[in-house]
Symmetry: C2
Subunit: 368 residues, 2 copies
């Protein structure tokens, strides 16, 4: 297998100073962001949730699909979708975010999917808790990693592989991982992992493997590409880096008023405007505070509740909009005291940018 | 109302030579293209159909929604969604394409949503024929235009307006326009126009007004912004231009093999590969022929049928893939003899680029 032809494409430096390459545009046209105007809703409408798919979406018939649990299990299993859907069903609102959300704001920028703010969404996921299924397969005492294998296959930096990620037994004990076959009251859509995926609440989206074909118990650490090389925080390219896990605290403003079609700048009438948005953190840690920067001062917003432990929290703030041009910002702090930085830290691949969201607003002067 | 603050943004020339501005990226992150790997399917999975929304998506409760038919009608009407859904129901597979699809390939490029090839999709639309409803409202004999008003509001080149488009009585007589409340067996999604929209089969997507609030019968021609100024073919900016109507003949190749994550280049094993894709034209004109350019010669593909009169036609072609780098192209011809050009014609706003689709493929040499 000759993989060299693809390799050089990844070595190109990203274009800088607000210009983007054709490869970046192709990724932006292919992957899709949340519609920011839906940030007043607890649950993102189906089809408006962000989508980041590394390879081609496999369209898999439900009837043909099986999940295999193999490796270091005493009671390995092969299950049909009917077997899986017969397990105890739970529905949980979970906020997912791509670890690369905000990459466009990290400078210098890596040559990957150029997310601005849109790679987030909340769905009601329908499935069953994963931990009891693993127990049923009787894992050996010395299991070090459970590997989740996806059906999606392709090349990344010249490495051909099926997308796969792992979680340790301790991760499984601490996280409420779900095996998922439905979304927002319907069967999973192909692009969200049909017929079967996992959801790892509180972690960035790369952990929530789609098109799940197998769970493999290993007595060594998993060294697959997306686990051992991809998805690490790095400040220089050749360091081992720190594995990406929990979502960092973040918040977004629902753009107020009405948009300009191309620039997406906002036009607002003068007077009282209720600003609103959503804030979230990782690991099930609740949001403690959201502040809004308007008229040069930070002011605390009202929190309006979350649809689930692992889902974002709504917020709102009444603003007296005075004629002129304004920049609005919001900043969330979680119950562990983590808060959003004003500027993004540097990361080689642009991961984990949770710096504050800004919106440009023009407030109309009724006298003009 | 002071609209000047937005106006200058539209006067910026587009960045050229394969670089894109931050405004263009924002639009690409917001609007979403079809996943090209679903081009083997008659019906695009819900959520993978292209989306182009000028303004913010209004989220409208079904219970509150009414459709008003007013203006030059003898029997004006106001209908609830229950009234509308009680009308005779039809389901029709219709291919929609954005008039700006392919804009990225038009040089020099206009500063609008930079679609490459992805602004197309086919859904099964559920609704009722529109013409009998217009007759029920008894239009005056001198009606010149029926205006379709959307709930979405914003600015375009400094002009604030609700999105609205019109069709003449002759258009209504010739086109099978549908009033639509469902899609792929489900209620319409907010971003596709819920609770009510029209579908104008065979025309570019701008005609298929979403979030429909009213149909107004005019005894003059409609001069709304999106009808009288927007959506015209122009070779110079200040000419009146030609209104955009029917979809031009076009075809796409489903990318064969497996992708490279960032560049989307394709890796294929040597040997027989069945290439496949979809081809379509406007106005209900069937596809007569699809040709594939491979190994320096055009060869005719097999047509595999269409799911409806206004929907795309599948095609396939067996290719003997030899090791090396290849560029594959496809070209459709419709039953009226219209065919795709090799290069895009110039249009000021990048509309109507139906030039041929190319895919870069690397065929593996098993001996390497």
């Amino acid at each position: 297998m000759n993989i060299n032809p693809f390799h050089p494409d990844f070595e190109k430096p990203a274009t800088t100073d607000g210009l983007f390459s054709r490869d970046e545009l192709r990724l932006a046209n292919r992957n899709s962001g949340i519609l920011l105007e839906t940030l007043n809703l607890d649950i993102t409408p189906t089809g408006a949730h962000y989508l980041l798919n590394h390879f081609d979406v496999p369209v898999i018939a439900d009837d043909d699909h099986q999940l295999t649990l193999n490796g270091a299990f005493d009671a390995p299993l092969t299950l049909s979708m009917d077997d899986i859907r017969a397990m105890p069903q739970v529905t949980e609102a979970v906020t997912l975010e791509c670890a690369g959300n905000g990459r466009e704001g990290v400078s210098p920028r890596s040559h990957l999917m150029p997310w601005m703010y849109e790679a987030v969404g909340t769905s009601e996921w329908i499935g069953t808790p994963l931990a009891p299924l693993l127990e049923r397969a009787k894992p050996h005492d010395n299991v070090q990693d459970y590997v989740f294998h996806g059906a999606d296959f392709g090349f990344d930096k010249g490495h051909p592989h099926n997308f796969a990620r792992s979680l340790t037994p301790q991760d499984i004990a601490e996280l409420d991982v779900m095996l998922v076959w439905g979304m927002n009251g319907q069967p999973l859509l192909p692009q969200h992992g049909a017929p079967l995926r996992i959801i790892v609440p509180g972690w960035y989206g790369m952990a929530s493997v789609k098109w799940l074909t197998g769970i493999e118990a290993l007595t060594t650490r998993f060294d697959g590409y997306q686990q051992a090389h991809g998805y690490h925080y790095r400040t220089v390219a050749d360091e081992p880096g720190v594995p990406i896990t929990r979502i960092l605290v973040k918040s977004l403003i629902r753009p107020p008023g009405v948009p300009d079609w191309v620039s997406r700048k906002r036009w607002v009438e003068a007077g009282k405007i209720t600003l609103e948005g959503r804030a979230w953190s990782g690991g099930g840690v609740p949001i403690a505070k959201v502040e809004v920067l308007a008229d040069s001062q930070w002011q605390e917003a009202e929190l309006t509740g979350a649809p689930g432990r692992y889902a974002w929290t709504g917020w709102r703030f009444d603003w007296q909009a005075k004629p002129g041009d304004h920049v609005l910002k919001c900043r969330a702090t979680d119950a562990e005291g983590n808060t959003q930085p004003m500027e993004s830290a540097f990361d080689v691949a642009g991961f984990g940018n949770n710096s504050v969201h800004s919106i440009d607003v023009h407030v109309d002067d009724p006298a003009v």
